[in-house]
Symmetry: C2
Subunit: 334 residues, 2 copies
């Protein structure tokens, strides 16, 4: 029997706790894999009450109890807790978020949980209490003993999957950061992840160009000719169904979306603009290349609306559902 | 009474002629402003026949005859014509496309037509027969005596309007090309165009950042601080409702789209990715800053599907409808 999922609370002043509670309340209709939360029992209870959710909560002592408890209550593992002050992040809250993340990641890496779903944190708040990683993804990679550059972020929604090859760097630095080696290395991780975790036997990878119209044969930039096309050739030589370089502007139109399983983008906004335009409240951030399953809702803490009952639970539900499906596929193939 | 619209044929080997014929056939249901085509009578006739459209065609001698003819037939002005060979562009076809464009632009600039709608051309094919402009927009600006940099391309669809501030240059050249002066100059043209031609009394302009998350206060690029924010301040000082710099990845999500009338993007794909993802078959390319009304369907010649009957007429219909609405607004305010 597959283990439950471990869910980290996220920043207790953000929308994480209320969305976790809301997701638990919808567990039957959404047919979700059982999950437990690491810590934050009273935060979850108060967030649920403010949102008007009838939440039963059950403290568990080990992940193995979560499955049985899940039908009747939201299982919470561990006694870390704090005050619920939505919209007012502070250091104790950041420490609670960090402890929850650390516990959930460790339990998943140890095999006690079948997958990790991380609630939204505020990077600056975590950094203020000593968190030394740029984001949760790098931390999780570290826990798993994987180099940060091999933990590949994929955004997945109902309309589209996209992978940005470069992420949080200035746009001016993007061209110099690209190399055929980078593209090949990450694209292979993506292809393997789609096979293992998404059940796609021969994933179709559409590789974006960098320049307008993919450079028009070198008239507007030569990265397509010198970097991207050679990478695609190497991927194809390795048996991967990679195509491109595709002009990015048309690649996300409906007819073209039907021709690939994932679009590999060269920079942050090339990947995130289309998925947020199309799948805003349902986008899941998946980390490929890890020994564990890890997903996250593709939104932030949304401090501004936390506690108001207006935050959309779609992405949290989708992140938990996707992690459950990925875990089930891994369990079936083991 | 408002004059008719002048429509240029586009490349006769592309989808332009069949889509013009299809649009005429739908004139009643779509409640379109009367239009005429410059030349290409037999091309239009054959393209319509291949698409299975019952097309009546009427040669007219001056634009003034178009309105009366339009109800019963597609009015064609001028004897320029050629063979219809869909999917096989050649020099005679390019010359026909160019002659049609020149005539339609000249008639509109002279006031004999209330607006210009240009069919899709292939830039390389036109260049091969001596066309010295980068694209139709620059040519139309030249005919109107407007500097090319003051003819501003806006993409407009049912979901979104976007303006790319830089267009057909390599991505690596974008940061150096941006300046506060450029942003202010073009944004003022956009604001004036939305007032005059779209009936928006106080247009809301959302200005994109260049970098991921609009740079996060300079952590990923300083263009937002040094260039874009000062431009926004100058626009606001001039009484224009400009906001930003906004992170581009979230700006095109549904809730945010409702907060502005146009998004001003810093580069080609930042504007074109979201509009093509959302409004692919209905996107209209509008040129603002001209003394005349000018629109175009936001797609190319699509030589690969010309003559197969599969090209979607949505963008051509939308371009002609929008030109008619813009022309009516100008007529009403004159």
């Amino acid at each position: 029997m597959t283990a439950p999922l471990a869910v980290s609370l996220g920043d207790p002043a953000g929308v994480g706790p209320e969305l976790i509670a809301e997701t638990w309340a919808r567990r039957a209709g959404e047919r979700l894999h059982p999950f437990f939360v690491c810590g934050g029992a009273s935060v979850l209870r108060e967030a649920a009450a403010l949102r008007g959710i009838a939440l039963d909560l059950e403290l568990i002592e080990n992940p193995g109890e979560a499955r049985a408890a899940f039908a009747r209550a939201l299982p919470v593992l561990g006694g870390g807790d704090g005050a619920y002050r939505p919209g007012f992040p502070d250091d104790p809250g950041a420490r609670l978020a960090l402890a929850s993340l650390e516990a959930a990641a460790a339990l998943t890496h140890a095999g006690a949980a079948a997958g990790l779903v991380t609630g939204p944190i505020a990077k600056a708040a975590l950094a203020a209490v000593g968190f030394a990683f740029p984001g949760q993804t790098e931390f999780v990679a570290h826990v798993c003993g994987v180099a940060a550059e091999d933990a590949v972020m994929m955004l997945a929604g109902p309309s589209l999957r996209t992978v940005p090859l470069t992420v949080h760097i200035a746009l001016a630095e993007v061209p110099a950061r690209l190399s055929a080696e980078l593209i090949v290395r990450r694209a292979r991780i993506v292809a393997a992840g789609l096979q293992r975790d998404f059940g796609i036997a021969a994933p179709r990878l559409a590789i974006c160009g960098l320049n307008p119209h993919a450079g028009e044969n070198g008239r507007m930039g030569r990265e397509e000719i010198e970097i991207i096309a050679p990478a695609i050739a190497a991927l194809r030589a390795a048996g991967i169904d990679a195509t491109g370089p595709h002009p990015a502007d048309t690649l996300f139109a409906p007819r073209l979306r039907a021709t690939y399983d994932v679009a590999i983008a060269m920079y942050h906004d090339q990947a995130l603009v289309p998925i947020k335009a199309l799948d805003f409240d349902q986008g899941v951030n998946v980390t490929l290349g890890l020994p564990i399953v890890r997903t996250s809702p593709d939104h932030g803490t949304a401090f501004g609306i936390a506690g108001t009952g207006t935050a959309d639970p779609g992405a949290m539900i989708a992140a938990i559902r996707m992690a459950g499906e990925m875990a089930a596929r891994r369990a079936a193939s083991d």
